[in-house]
């Protein structure tokens, strides 16, 4: 018998396949090419955000500001387009805004040494505030027709554009993490920052680039969101904040840092997307999706920590009933 290595990704993959099977039995229209393509379309925005969050969590950091960065990006693109009427300039300005936000986080965390959760808690409010000030709290929907291609268009009339972008970005991130010196440094910083410093890793530089990467991914995600819904609003990315962290952790990235893979995150995001889409097709209330996403996250982690729980229960029984 072949001994399969029992990894988190494997458990998750089995969970995911079981979920797919259940969905295709319960909702006949689930397992069609068109529907599956639309699932990938729905997961791309969350997925791209989660790519950045994954890299950040691997360094044992966290970024609560990604939702606000996405919202700010949409506002910057819309405002710049209103001023210049040049779409390329507007989109570049939006992406640069995301990079600057990421750099701001990075400076606070890497140079000053503020714990990531506190730094990004502050910048989350701050970036959202800037977006609200620029837009005066309004939604802006003054875009040209060509802007909608990214979020609503198809390549060869079948492949959703954002799915293609997501796949390309996921491949790039996976390559960066596993095949480049930068990626190895990201893991080493998360595993043991002291050891990383002593082996010549410039801690602050690595962290700075990690948060800039997170900011850029958030900006791309914001760009796609605003193109899909044809509007720019300061709170557009907010719903994805907790979901992106949940999907990353579901995908096996250790919140304490040092381990995690892009394929895991992609499966994690897919679980959420399939759950949402399948329940929708079955006509289940959207409120139940929230509940089941939380249950899925906790369930997978419980299965993962089974041995710890078993030991504790055995110990508890020994101490109290013998």
């Amino acid at each position: 018998m072949i001994k399969v290595k029992r990894s988190h990704e494997l458990i998750l993959l089995i969970f995911f396949l079981a979920l797919m099977t259940i969905m295709s039995i319960l909702a006949p229209s689930f397992l069609t090419v068109n529907n599956l393509l639309s699932v990938t379309q729905q997961m791309s925005e969350l997925g791209i955000l989660a790519l950045g969050v994954t890299v950040i969590i691997i360094t044992s950091g966290i970024d609560l500001s990604v939702g606000s960065i996405a919202g700010l990006t949409t506002i910057v693109i819309a405002t710049m387009y209103g001023m210049t009427h040049n779409l390329a300039v507007a989109v570049i300005a939006g992406l640069v805004a995301g990079i600057l936000c990421g750099a701001f986080n990075g400076v606070l965390i890497a140079k000053i040494g503020v714990p990531p959760i506190l730094a990004t808690l502050g910048t989350m409010t701050f970036f959202r505030g800037i977006a609200l000030v620029i837009s005066k709290g309004n939604a802006i929907s003054d875009f040209p027709e060509s802007y909608y291609f990214i979020g609503q268009g198809y390549i060869f009339d079948t492949l959703p554009v954002q799915t293609v972008i997501f796949v390309i970005l996921a491949l790039i991130t996976a390559f960066l993490l596993s095949k480049t010196p930068w990626g190895r440094r990201v893991y080493s910083v998360g595993n043991n920052p002291v050891a990383a410093v002593f082996s010549g890793v410039k801690l602050d530089k690595v962290l700075l680039y990690v948060y800039i990467f997170g900011g850029l991914m958030a900006a791309i995600s914001g760009w796609i969101i605003s193109s899909r819904v044809s509007t720019a609003r300061a709170d557009l990315g907010a719903v994805y904040l907790m979901q992106s962290i949940a999907a990353t952790v579901l995908g096996g990235t250790n919140i304490a840092g040092g381990s995690g893979t892009i394929i895991g995150t992609v499966i994690g995001v897919s679980v959420f997307a399939v759950l949402g889409n399948g329940l929708n097709l079955m006509g289940v209330s959207p409120f139940a999706q929230n509940l089941l996403m939380g249950v899925a996250l906790i369930l997978v982690l419980l299965i993962n920590n089974m041995s710890i729980i078993k030991n504790k229960i055995v110990l508890f029984i020994k101490l109290n009933f013998k």
Partner: protein, 330 residues
């Protein structure tokens, strides 16, 4: 005296005074007894929950499910208050029990299954909110009875009831962390978990207690929430957890665990409350509120980190100097 001046709480208190003075110079309406009372009354719920969050942060944990807990408990309290046989004691008991149960649910997953607090509470945030929305189908709880809603505005011996409840919460929390073994264990666990378990502290029990206590205070806050607003939205408390955490952090609790005080948290809550109230009185456009709040938070944590670094640096030089002197004298 000098030590007292250097304390983190004193710095934050000075900041609060400076902000208050600045606002009162611009708008005379700020520094009136009725306005100051309304600042306190409007932030009682935040303050009660921040007391619990202080303990959670001291253990280097975090609880992002408290917003959902607040909504969950508030709806149940509201539904019970609508029953014909209900009275104020039943309502209090239901809120408290509901909160404690939600907190224990978090605590078992965090202490028992050793899943990190942020992950568990991100999950339970969705579980609590989702099950609540599913149960209520998104409907609000309205037309609450007068005996319940009047609780918020009535007073005993001239002191409003919410302030009395807050005072009791502070007194109980202070007693717990200052004079009981369990409460001291909370700080021990946050300061150094390995050392804490070596000296015989049952760390699982302490964690369970901290999250259950957080739940209990959220339950108490939910009772006041329904009484204050008279209608309860099943989305109540959405993203309120971030305000609670901000108040605790501005108050000086370290996210690395082991430090944090109730007085500091109270000042943190007041800074947030005064800023919000002042900006409304000064007729600042509401969009600027987030910018200012975010900046205050960023500055507070950055200054804290820089101060700590300076202190650490001083510590090291003193140690070296002593060691050299010791060597010379020997």
């Amino acid at each position: 005296m000098r030590n007292w001046l250097k304390k983190r709480e004193f710095v934050m208190l000075m900041m609060l005074v400076v902000i208050s003075l600045g606002i009162s110079l611009i708008t005379p309406a700020f520094l009136t007894p009725s306005n100051l009372l309304s600042i306190v009354m409007n932030n009682i719920i935040l303050a009660i929950m921040a007391m619990g969050m202080t303990l959670v942060v001291v253990t280097s944990g975090i609880d992002v499910s408290v917003g959902s807990q607040l909504g969950f408990a508030a709806i149940f309290v509201g539904l019970v208050a609508l029953l014909p046989t209900a009275n104020i004691f039943i309502v209090l008991a239901v809120g408290l029990v509901c909160g404690v149960l939600l907190g224990i649910f978090n605590g078992i997953l965090i202490a028992g299954a050793e899943i990190p607090a942020i992950v568990v509470t991100v999950g339970t945030m969705n579980v609590f909110r989702g099950s609540l929305l599913l149960y209520t189908n998104g409907k609000w709880v309205t037309s609450l009875p007068a005996w319940y809603t009047s609780m918020y505005n009535s007073s005993v011996l001239g002191v409003p009831i919410p302030i009395i409840i807050f005072a009791v919460v502070v007194a109980v929390t202070y007693y717990l962390i200052q004079y009981t073994r369990l409460g001291r264990s909370v700080y021990a666990l946050g300061g150094n978990p390995v050392a804490a378990s070596r000296v015989g502290i049952n760390t699982d029990k302490v964690l369970l207690f901290v999250f259950a206590y957080m739940g209990a205070l959220t339950g108490i806050a939910s009772i006041l929430y329904g009484a204050q607003l008279a209608t309860i939205d099943p989305n109540a408390g959405t993203s309120f957890e971030l305000t609670v955490i901000s108040a605790v952090v501005i108050g000086g609790a370290s996210a690395l665990g082991g430090s944090g005080s109730l007085l500091g948290t109270c000042i943190g809550v007041l800074i947030l409350g005064v800023l919000q109230n002042g900006m409304i009185l000064m007729r600042v456009e509401p969009y600027w509120q987030d910018v200012v709040m975010g900046l205050i938070l960023i500055i507070a944590v950055s200054v804290d980190v820089l101060n700590n670094r300076k202190k650490e640096a001083q510590k090291k030089t003193i140690d070296v100097a002593k060691a050299i002197k010791g060597g010379v004298s020997a």
